[in-house]
């Protein structure tokens, strides 16, 4: 799991992108800080530009997120909604959930335990 060296792909917190019907599932991993959120923002802007009905962001492998990471999620949420789509979060670890609570954003994002629950809702 550890990085061989810090090249572009290693710095990328996007572990996988899966497409199911009109939904896009984004698997993120690692620590989303100022160093990593720049790349994440690019990927999220590209994705929202495709105007999918639903973006599901799986955070179960994300061990840390700061306000720069959170800002990219808020921006993507707002872009999705403007396009009539939805953005949902699943698998949030306790320590990542607390930054959502402190920032009072835990009620802004639809949050689910699993991908299937998010897809079904």
């Amino acid at each position: 799991m550890r990085h061989r060296h810090t090249n572009d792909s290693d710095n990328d917190v996007v572990r996988a992108i899966r497409r199911q019907d009109k939904a896009v599932v984004l698997e993120l991993a690692g620590e989303i800080d100022l160093h990593r959120s720049v790349k994440l923002r690019e990927r999220l802007l590209d994705l929202t530009a495709e105007r999918p009905d639903m973006i599901v962001i799986n955070l179960s492998e994300v061990s840390f997120m700061d306000s720069s990471g959170l800002a990219t999620l808020v921006e993507a949420l707002q872009l999705c909604r403007r396009n009539g789509g939805a953005l949902k979060l699943v698998g949030i670890q306790e320590r990542v959930r607390s930054i959502l609570e402190i920032s009072r954003l835990d009620h802004i994002f639809p949050i689910f335990d699993s991908e299937s629950e998010a897809m079904a809702s």
Binding site: E31, D33, F64, S67, L70, I102, S103
Partner: protein, 163 residues
């Protein structure tokens, strides 16, 4: 040592103002706060607050990533021989000086990206003070109280602890 002498710092860390190195600071802070006696969830909060403070130094004090240093000091707080009552974390930069009064949180009522760092720092920490250092740069002093449900089991946080 006399009772009035402050406890020596646990650790001092110096990194470049570069986001690539934030993870080093976070892991050092994690271990140092664990050693000082903070609970796991409190440790996570302190790591987040320090990360936000360092991010702000890189973006606002230095105007972007550079080779200039940021110095982080962690020291226990309280009488010398007693268990630490609090943890003091100092973050020092050598960049642009601003009036500490201008460093404040925005209203959270409006949902928009960004503008959350200072709010997070103030929520997690028990005391937060910015000051301009006369020799140049800014210093942020953050204090986190250590809650000890079981005081009888606690032991001194000074070096006498380990041996």
């Amino acid at each position: 040592m006399t009772k009035d002498k402050p406890k020596p710092e646990i650790v001092e860390l110096r990194i470049h103002a570069d986001p690539a190195y934030l993870s080093i600071a976070r892991e050092a802070i994690r271990k140092a706060t664990e050693i000082a006696g903070l609970a796991a969830d409190e440790t996570d909060g302190v790591i987040l607050a320090v990360d936000e403070a360092l991010t702000n130094v890189i973006r606002h004090s230095y105007g972007g990533p550079c080779d200039k240093p940021i110095v982080i000091q962690i020291r226990p707080h309280g009488p010398q021989a007693a268990p630490a009552e609090a943890l003091e974390i100092l973050i020092r930069d050598f960049g642009r000086q601003v009036d500490p009064k201008t460093i404040k949180s925005r209203s959270l009522d409006e949902v928009r990206p960004g503008g959350l760092g200072v709010h997070i720092i103030q929520t997690v920490m028990d005391d937060v003070q910015y000051r301009c250092v006369p020799e140049g740069g800014m210093e942020l002093r953050m204090v986190k109280r250590i809650s000890r449900p079981d005081n009888s089991a606690s032991i001194p946080a000074s070096k006498s602890r380990s041996h």
